[in-house]
Amino acid sequence: MPDLGTFITQTDGRFAVHLLSTDKFRTRYLALKVARPLHRQHVTALAMLPYLWMQGTTTLPSAREVLRYADSLFGASVRTLIQRRGHQQVLEVQATAPEVGTFNGADAVLEELESLVIQLAVNPAHTGDAFPSDHVEREKTLHERRIQSVFDNKITYALERSWEAACAGQPVGLPRLGYREDLRALTAASLWSLQQEVLAESDVHFYVVGKLHDEPSVAAKILNRLRQAFGDHGRGAAGSPVHALAVRRGEVQQVVEKQRVQQGKLNLVFRTGVSYGDDEYVPLLLANGVLGGFPHSKLFMNVREKASLAYYASSMLDGLTGLAVVQTGIETANRDKAYDIIRAQVDALQAGQVTDDELEFTRRGLTNQYRQVLDQPASLAEIHFSATLAGVERDVERLIQQIGEVDKAAVVDAASRFSLDTVYFLTSDAEVTTGA
């Protein structure tokens, strides 16, 4: 069968089922994604919900029972997580299980896994109109630690802080896990009432990648299950497609943070105003690649190989917000030197100083990356989901085709969209240490 990474989608109101039938994997991948707009008011509580789901369902009332039940389904693994995708907060259940299509009774097992994934989200353990208070107390403690551990990984921390600074005051700038100070006010009842809102007012997506027969009837069956589980009367909540942040006029923001660190982190955040749904997205993807996506890119060659200032120096483009973040880890004393070299690379790119090799290598590198995605079920689903949120139909094959067609003029044009928004520097200071 052709392996083009093309999903078949069936929708019904706010429910969508995306199926990819393939026989090349040994494991089957399932994901339930429940999307709602980010709001300051609910960001922390919503971030906690998927973790509360793992604490038990009405029929499997503890985390241990959930995990043991999954174990009994041919050693399936199940996890829940929270994601931030553009201005959406996405509550998610993921499961993988060995494909056991040749065994008797295997179909029943896979249906049970499907059912577990849905039950975790829609039927969490509760007592009356509240989550069990012991589940809530435990998850509050664990969630606080989850928030704190972002502080402990300085690369992630610097990325998160520079992102927040660049998007301050807007929903997309809210931290993925929410705020520590919100936790105290959350109660078993308030979380339960939010849970009811989530069931009634969210967009619901269900992904399956694996050996499937008769996809239309599989999709219809899952749609039916979702409708029953989430309720027929709810409505979608995600609203308009995700679009890029507009370029901000005025001064570049400078953020300096001091901590007890051995290595400084210098991040530059650019707004581009271009997102996944825009025509300029693919040229921008190439421009970002030329700047800092690969070991042949300008940042790696100049910050690392020529100036020997850093071990990593790269640029990452977020297709939903249109933010590009340059990240480096440097000796704190080298801050200005590194900054000048990074700026010079962006200037060169915008001035059209892109060699044929740089462009071709980047084109091939990106093509290789996306072709490899065709071998990775979870990444296939993520890319498809991004496109869905941005309101475009662009599967991986189409993306690869477009990457092949972009010319230099278009790449340089797209590069002119890089507008420096925020310079973030995490530095050491013997005197000052900040807490989490």
């Binding site: 000796e331 072709r371 071998d375 807490g435």
Partner: protein
């Protein structure tokens, strides 16, 4: 070329040993877009003292040199190697472990040409004063990055506590001080000693034709001449059986403590299938006791002593072996005391049949999942193969384990004299 069939996994592996001693394994996977190829030498951070055949003196090289060499192989007189892969649409990388250095590429096109680039750049050393000095700045920043990483720090401090002399306790990248002493001459010596084809293995997995790829590798290698295989005598210091220090604590700019407990194998020397079996057996013990669906895991969770980062691992090599257990905790001492009392309890009552079966099933599921990731297959296949074991026999090995073995191993492994604790506390 020999074909090895794994019927239950529906895999066919191709094996060949070239005239120069290079061992080649090819694993075609139908339907996969990518090919993942690796070229590995049996040479890592622990190989810092060695003697060559017929030479009396022991050569001692700076700590971190295997990793330094890995970095420097990517630079040639003509320039950087990365663009050569980029031109062919491949993504290249490398990594160094305690006992191996691997160079790799993954690509969806031009597999033969990329293989050529891989074989050539790893077999053509070129080092200059200037480029070696430049690399010290880059690796210095890599080391600083690890200095700030609490998970890295708590792990290497545990190894320091477990091992007094064995170089497994030294950081793989060395220290800023140790790498300062690296020169082109020392790099050439190490390359000459450890990068002989007879000390190396080529492995590829993905969508390719094995006959064509093997013919290509043969031709490439036949065109090069190598001296006779050096007989390498690795010199390791005598390591006492018990741990070096029972406790180590450091302070870092973090919000919450990290705590790892480790148990050092008093007896080492396993290799080949016995080592794979030991790894599976010990893994089943640890998963049964502390896996995410175990009673103990949930007791620790209920007591508020751990979070979802709590995990175990076991590493077994011919000259060292240790288990690691732990993660984030608000109270390291309470975690250590509780884990110890749970282990004491387990030693008394033993692992139940049910927990044993669950743990074994989990291990089989985990193994099957790795088969979908060419990168993961390559890493685990090569790392076992260089130690003489075959990772594709994992399921058979697991199925042969008995509850008796599990309980014997449990009682043997968790001895008090073999335990050390490493803690990172907020500064």
């Amino acid at each position: 070329m020999r074909e090895i069939h794994y019927d239950s996994l529906q895999l066919t592996l191709y094996r060949d040993v070239l005239d120069n001693g290079l061992v080649v394994y090819l694993l075609p996977k139908a339907g996969f877009q990518q090919t993942f190829a690796s070229f590995t030498t049996k040479y890592g951070s622990i190989d810092s003292q060695f003697r060559l055949a017929h030479q009396p003196q022991v050569i001692t090289v700076p700590d971190g040199i295997a990793h330094f060499l890995e970095h420097k192989m990517f630079e040639k007189e003509r320039g950087d190697v990365f663009p050569e892969f980029a031109k062919l649409g491949a993504s290249a990388n490398a990594f160094t472990t305690f006992d191996q250095t691997t160079y790799l590429f993954s690509s969806t096109d031009h597999v033969l040409e990329n293989t050529e680039v891989l074989l050539n750049f790893v077999q053509e050393p070129w080092f200059s004063e200037q480029s070696v000095e430049k690399e010290k700045g880059i690796i210095g920043q890599e080391i600083r990055m690890y200095d700030d990483n609490p998970d890295w720090q708590v792990f290497f401090n545990l190894l320091r506590a477990l091992y007094k002399h064995h170089p497994v306790h030294l950081p793989i990248a060395g220290t800023v001080e140790s790498i300062a002493g690296i020169t082109p001459d020392i790099l050439y010596t190490c390359h000459e000693t450890f990068y002989h084809p007879s000390n190396m293995m080529f492995f590829a997995v993905g969508g390719f034709h094995p006959e064509a790829l093997l013919a290509h590798i043969r031709k490439n290698q036949a065109a090069k001449s190598f001296g006779p295989a050096p007989a390498i005598d690795r010199v390791l210091p005598e390591e006492p059986g018990p741990v070096s220090e029972p406790n180590r604590t450091v302070h870092l700019g973090v919000s919450q403590p990290r705590c790892l407990m480790g148990w050092k194998d008093a007896k080492t020397g396993l290799s080949g299938p016995a080592q794979l079996a030991q790894e599976m057996l010990t893994g089943v013990v640890l998963e049964a006791l502390f896996g995410k669906s175990s009673d103990f895991y949930h007791r620790l969770m209920d007591a508020g002593l751990i979070d979802q980062n709590f995990s175990w691992e076991y590493e077994c090599a011919p000259t060292y072996g240790y288990s690691v257990l732990g993660g984030n905790t608000p109270n390291p001492q309470a975690l250590v005391d509780t884990v110890q009392s749970l282990i004491d309890e387990a030693m008394k009552i033993g692992v139940s049949e049910e927990a044993f079966e669950r743990s074994r099933r989990k291990a089989i599921g985990r193994f099957i999942a790795t088969l979908d990731s060419p990168g993961a297959v390559a890493r685990s296949f090569v790392s076992y193969a260089l130690r003489g074991a075959d990772v594709f026999t994992t399921i058979d090995v697991l199925e042969r384990l008995t509850l008796q073995q599990v309980n014997d191993r449990l009682r043997e492994h968790f001895a008090e004299s073999q335990r050390a604790v490493s803690v990172v506390l907020p500064a």
